[in-house]
């Protein structure tokens, strides 16, 4: 941790020195505290992220907020896919959402974040709106099936966080999605996920 801090200090000095050398504005970069792993698939990185966040000692706190969550049956499936330009849950997604609704309704302390995403086509901020529409579609389905509002938060990443970096229909189909991310239950300290 001490090493991390000293590197940050060296960096700040370097950048200031650079600003003086190269002229113009010596902008000091702001590095947000590294956050925890973003999905269950790399949950092993969480403790490392937490340490780095502590070491950075400021900025927006890293979210040490995710847990593995339930894994039985359909609950292990955390992604709901969508057709192009659609926020309608259909096909396998209906059952996936129903399974999570049942679990969340039965476990009122459980919380999830619904992360909406789009493919890369079109305007970025408009895509944030489309991703939000998808996240809201899942949220409404969960609410209708007995989940409490306080268990749900939504975010849209639009086209900014593709699951597949490709640029064809196969990749786009994987990117039009809502990810259901289980969070640490309210009021409990963060527990590192099991690898």
């Amino acid at each position: 941790m001490a090493e991390q801090r000293s590197i940050n200090q060296i960096l700040a000095l370097l950048v200031v020195a650079l600003g003086l050398t190269l002229g113009g504005c010596g902008s000091k970069p702001v590095k947000p505290a590294p956050s925890t792993a973003q999905t269950e698939s790399n949950a092993g990185a969480q403790s490392e992220g937490a340490n780095a966040a502590n070491a950075a000692g400021g900025g927006v706190a890293g979210n040490q907020d995710e847990t593995t969550g339930p894994q039985a049956g359909l609950l292990a499936t955390r992604i709901v896919y969508f057709d192009f330009d659609s926020a309608v849950i259909q096909g396998a997604g209906v059952d996936v959402v129903a399974a999570h609704a049942k679990y969340l309704a039965a476990n009122p302390q459980a919380r999830v974040r619904l992360e909406g995403n789009t493919d890369e086509r079109g305007s970025r901020e408009y895509n944030i709106g489309l991703g939000d529409r998808r996240a809201q579609s899942v949220r409404r389905a969960l609410l209708l099936q007995g989940v409490a509002e306080g268990q749900l938060t939504t975010v849209s990443y639009g086209e900014e966080r593709p699951a597949d970096p490709g640029h064809d229909e196969a990749a786009w189909a994987k990117n039009r999605r809502v990810e259901i991310v289980y969070l640490t239950p309210a009021g409990q300290p963060a527990v590192p996920a099991k690898p």
Binding site: L18, S27, P29, S123, E125, Y126, D132, A135, V155
Partner: protein
Amino acid sequence: MHRCPNRLTLRAWLTLAAVLAIGGGAAPEARAALQIEITSGVRDPIPIAIVPFAPASPADGGLDVAGVVQHDLEGSGRFRALPRERMPATPTRAEAISAADWKGVGSDYVAVGRLAVLENGTLAVDFDLVNTLTGVRLATQRFTGPASALRNAAHRVSDAIYQKILGVRGAFATRIAYVSIDGAPPAQHYQLIVADADGENAHLILDSRFPIMSPAWSPDGQWLAYVSFESKLSGVYVQRVRTGERSLVSARAGINGAPAWSPDGRKLALTLGGSNGNPDIYVLDLTTQGLTRITDDPAIDTEPEWAPDGRSLYFTSDRAGSPQIYQISASGGRPKRITFEGNYNARPRVSADGSTLAMVTLDGGGYRIAVQDLATGAVRVLSHGHLDESPSFAPNGATLLYSQRESSRGTLATISVDGLTGLRLKAQQAAVCDPAWGPFGT
């Protein structure tokens, strides 16, 4: 029409990454060094000679001021510079120019100049511009400043030459902001970078494992507003470019996005989604933190852009089924639809004179950059890509900067509003996107 593809590589390399690498492996680097290529230029660029300026070593740090000017002017696609080895002489003052000699080697204009250290220690850059056909001296100008600002002074020389010859203020002494993304999912790495308009002098503004998007310059060029997902949820931040000082101005439930500064710099227009997911346009007073709702419609309303007079806002809405651009009074009310051609028009940007709207339009299967004359409604599609996005006007209104997808990687590109000249600004390692062209310097 007058498209003349040439492949002039101007080598605008960034040195920041190499220098920062000394700092150790953990140090974030600005990875998106930009290299400029002219993709289309006018058929008959204006021949000009930029003679090496008399140096003031060591104060000038060895900077080749004439080289920077030549790079700028050629990069505009409007000029062709005489190679130095073909120059008949190396004058540094207008009096020493023999117009006939330069006319003889085909240069219509000659620029000469010299650097000097003033008594107070600052540097002066003097230049003269001569028309070799008439022998008339078109400009004699001096720019002064600290040695650290010498590159900026060189860009100001470029601006002056551009204006004298073409009658339009140059936008070389300006800056751009953009986002670079590298790494494969789910380990992408995002950086917000500010650079000179030629891609040089890049500075890292923000480094994050979570998306950064929609950088927007304050009208005075001192601040950037942007969206960062560093908390995993969206937040709108404003950050002073010079110092890194920043504050979180909106982290409400749902979407916080698409910040746009009012022309007086006191307010930000934003998109807020709320926990129930209804993206609408709001105006946030940066002094009082007061929030005013501008639109109220169940559709997606986003991407606000102020009219230059600050009295109205343009925005994207799919209230009619597909995204189109609307205009609404800055105090709210009933919006007026602005775009009618095609079924996808988004991300409005308005030229500084208020005459022209730029947008992303779906045209022939590709998302392309188009402009619409706001007086006549006439639309012209300017770009030719498949995934062109994020148009941003140069402050002189002559050029648009935008992002494109080229062989699986994002690059930046420019296209002149008349459609004649284009450039590509390509990063060596990272994908770059979401550019914003800053205002004129003061």
